[in-house]
């Protein structure tokens, strides 16, 4: 069954870079959002399995999205994708419920490793 993946980043170019780094044979349907508000609105419609979430965004940033998801029923996997690669940023988002942290520019090998760890790809 195809998984529903939500890619959240204010930069269309960054979304494109991430989507290109996903495993080509991964059976998914991709939805995109340009900020946290749009992301939550997609999420609340239901059915989202995996969210790739940028941290620095206008309107509502990635931290606020994680905070909100934590107070709603978080039943999807959140992978943070960020240029902010500080160790403290990584620790913060993990504490807020993200399952993994990928640094930009996203390395396809790292994406595959994370997806494999959570049984999302073979």
């Amino acid at each position: 069954m195809s998984l529903s993946v939500l890619v959240v980043d204010d930069s269309a170019m960054a979304r494109k870079m991430l989507i290109r780094a996903l495993p080509p044979a991964w059976d998914i349907t991709i939805t995109q959002a340009a900020n946290g508000v749009e992301a939550l609105s997609h999420y609340r419609q239901g059915g989202v399995d995996v969210i790739f979430l940028d941290l620095t965004m206008p309107e509502m940033d990635g931290y606020q999205v994680l905070e909100t998801l934590r107070h709603e029923d978080l039943n999807c996997l959140v992978i943070v994708v960020s240029a902010d690669i500080q160790a403290a940023a990584q620790a913060r988002v993990r504490a807020m419920g993200a399952i993994a942290f990928l640094k930009k520019p996203v390395d396809p090998v790292e994406v595959r490793a994370v997806l494999k760890e959570y049984g999302l790809v073979l």
Partner: protein, 203 residues
Amino acid sequence: MTMDFISDDQREALQEVANIGMGQAGASIAQVLGEFVELSVPQIRAVDAAEIPAALVALAGDGIASAVRQAFLGELRGEAIVIFSEHSAHDLAELMSYGDALDAPASRELLLDISNVLVGACLGGIAELLRAEIGFSAPSLLADQVSTHQLLQAEAIAARCALLVEVRFGLERRVFRCHLIILMAEDAVAALQRALDRFIEEL
């Protein structure tokens, strides 16, 4: 001077590579200072040389600041200017445990060191993404605790217009603020455009 001497695609690519460069710079100073660094979304615009001093005031705000200048050379050429808000040197000294021992020369040295780390990581990251070879000049103090209106005089700018890329760093629980500004003259922008086009094509 119109805003569009780079295309929308080029601007967006530059925004993203600047974002990644800024992240690397932020992580580098976070490590040096042992503090969490707050990052902003990079701002990019084209400005006339005559507008640059005013643009710097708009970025840094009215007040007192110091600035360090460092040139980058090679496939991409331009100048990086790091503007430190008034009490930033004092904050840095505390974080680096200089305590009260911070005299003026040591304070200036600290600003040069931090600039060097920021510029090296940020521009180095951008150049690596764009697969361009660059080198750096030694950092030099451009202004020492002056009004932001006097940071940079229009006469000191050789180019007719410039591309201005601004990234901002702040520390939680501290007043420390600095801006990293990348200035590239018209002819250097052509090389940047080629590098950005190559980057976009390979996406």
